[in-house]
Symmetry: C2
Subunit: 407 residues, 2 copies
């Protein structure tokens, strides 16, 4: 008898009919002799409906009260799914975050899980019940309601799987697994049967938004086998595991991630001093703008350097204004920018002992006439910044070159 | 500095604008130097919206899960009202039923309050905060979510006023107080400045639905001064108090209650035996039908009796079918019924030492040509059953005869 934690997102429980469909899927898992904990999100649209009312009262409502408000969304879903399960003949019971004793820190709206009590969960499982748990929510040590932030239900599911030592944490979504790249860009993209946590982290952070990155980190930390499956069709999905004995056999490259909404900014002709990077990036960070790729060129003969970084395209104008102010203060030459760029990354744990991978990537792109404006590398990924019109061509060329369409 | 518990119902918090209006009203009470606990219901329509979804899944959903579901309604309101209060510059904090430690028995959907913890409430009040509490909800001893049943927010408010020893529990509604009778029937009806708990109980149970009867009982038991006011207009409302030293001065009759939706059933010619009433009423009670007035006539010469009772008009047909079965079993003569009747009651603690009250009532109705089909009396009320077309005429005649339009 296996113990599975299954998580269904807002789209999967977005209507009465879909809740009934989820109940049938859970019932099937039970009938196969498994113990099941289900973690659910709010019905799609509900969180935004609630936040809309709060905004109408106050654009800057207190986070504590917003957590009291939005946590009702998941509570509605657990009740409805439990009713649907009971109607389908499955013995089930709902539990809120505080009934599970999901304890978090007090960072309202982005709380981090500290402990999860297993006693209540285990008691209901031992009694043969399916336990339906509200995702996304917890309580701080003063019993205030907290939420984990958008997508936090994935993290709830992983945390529960970790403390219960579940055989698998199954994340049901509207895609049937993790692909070598986005099938809308490369129709020959192939679903992966498995991927390592490290690769998944790079894929997720690079724009392949199947799982919340915090949930993946959490699963990796507590060694919880994670599986991504479709709520709407049958299939084995993609299993996300620790890098294991199969590493030697694994493909050099597992997938190609990309991100369209990038913009780059370059400040030129600034003095090469130890604190220059901090001086440039501090105002950007203080303005709440996330910086992605950062490149500083080698020293030039005159002791001046160029410094380039990328931001989300929405932050481009704000970042540019700040950078021009910094440029004047540092007596730099000028600021240049480009908000029509994209990032392509190849990801794979296999690349660490295949030094030719970077060369192959650059050759493939060069042969297609694609100019690389920035290059950034880590142990398991190589990212390049290109003109946005070259994105699809680049992804398809790399997909073919690394044989990703062949299992 | 006075401590008030203010309760606002679903209509009073039914929209963003109304929540803002409640916030202004609470702010004004604070500025007058009072400590305030606010108890709120779900926004009007919300409870039915939630129950509609549950019904779509299962007409007979488990009460435990329905409580998990509908208790979200009040949680939404406490968050929104707290946000509105903070926006208006009032230091406020929301508390759910479990944060207040509102402990109930485990009768889901109609739970009774057992204990309320004052520690958390008092701590926030001492810190100068307005505390916004979710009405209607609690937790049983196993930490399951419970609800007190429709209108339970009144009971929540009274319970909190009792444990905090509040100076008043103020129930804000869509009427501005308790009237001598319904102003839609008698335009000369007058708002009462005060009424005793006993009179209020009779008025409420007789169809003058201003307050939940359980809340009034609770207030009487714990000696909580209760005041009914309007959410929408200024005024002192009606204070509901213990029968006190002013009793001697009080008017003989405080008000006239009535109920249109009655039906009567009479079973004739049955043997006069000790268990006959139980035999007749047991099947009715088992079918979930509430019986109101009950009258059994004096013994007739042949040892046979007639037995009459009234039920809600909606239950008339079902009750009649059951009664005809009983009639056959008891070898009775026949069953007769009338579903076009109404009940008029005069209520007043002053009537106990004014024996002429009943005579006056019967004379007034008789002079108007109104036939009384049944009469039932208690210490502080006299009820008569009349043809429904005589309801308005009877109420107006009695209102004038007992000088209720004069303060």
């Amino acid at each position: 008898m296996a113990l599975y934690v299954q998580k269904y997102g807002g789209t999967s429980v977005g209507s009465i009919e879909r809740i009934e469909a989820v109940a049938q899927r859970v019932k099937k898992s039970c009938e196969q002799g498994n113990q099941i904990v289900v973690v659910v999100s709010a019905m799609s649209g509900e969180t935004n409906r609630l936040l809309g009312m709060a905004k109408a009262l106050d654009e800057h409502a207190a986070r504590r009260e917003l957590d009291v408000l939005v946590s009702t969304g998941e509570q509605v879903t657990i009740a409805l799914l439990t009713i649907a399960l009971q109607k389908a003949g499955v013995d089930a019971i709902s539990m809120t975050g505080d009934q599970v004793q999901m304890k978090t820190d007090n960072s309202h709206g982005k709380a981090r899980i500290k402990t999860v009590e297993t006693e209540n969960l285990q008691r209901h499982l031992d009694a043969g019940k399916v336990v339906v748990v509200a995702g996304f929510q917890g309580r701080d040590e003063d019993n205030n309601i907290t939420t984990l932030g958008r997508g936090g239900s994935d993290t709830t599911a992983v945390a529960i799987a970790a403390v219960l030592k579940a055989d698998e944490c199954q994340i049901y979504t509207d895609v049937n697994g993790v692909y070598t790249t986005d099938p809308r860009v490369e129709p020959r993209a192939r679903k992966l049967d498995r991927i390592t946590f490290e690769e998944m982290l790079e894929m997720a952070s690079l724009g392949a938004k199947v799982l919340q990155i915090r949930a993946v980190e959490f699963a990796g930390k507590y060694n919880v086998p994670l599986r991504v499956l479709s709520s709407f069709e049958e299939g084995e999905g993609t299993l996300i595991t620790y890098e294991d004995v199969k590493k030697m056999e694994s493909a050099i490259i597992s997938g190609i991630a990309f991100n369209r909404d990038e913009a780059s900014l370059t400040i030129s002709g600034i003095p090469d001093e130890p604190l220059v990077a901090a001086n440039i990036l501090t105002p950007i960070g203080d303005a709440g703008i996330d910086v992605d790729v950062i490149v500083q060129n080698a020293h030039s003969k005159d002791g001046l350097v160029d410094f380039t970084f990328t931001v989300h395209r929405d932050d481009y104008q704000a970042a540019r204004v700040l950078l021009e102010k910094t440029c004047a203060e540092l007596s730099g030459k000028d600021v240049q920018g480009n908000d029509r760029i994209a990032k392509i990354s190849i990801v794979g744990v296999g690349m660490w002992n295949h030094p030719g991978v970077a060369k192959t990537m650059f050759e493939v792109l060069g042969n297609e006439g694609i100019n690389m404006q920035l290059i950034s590398t880590s142990e398991i990924k190589i990212s390049v910044i290109v003109d946005e019109q070259h994105l699809e061509l680049g992804v398809r060329a790399l997909h073919a070159a690394f044989n990703l369409d062949v299992a």
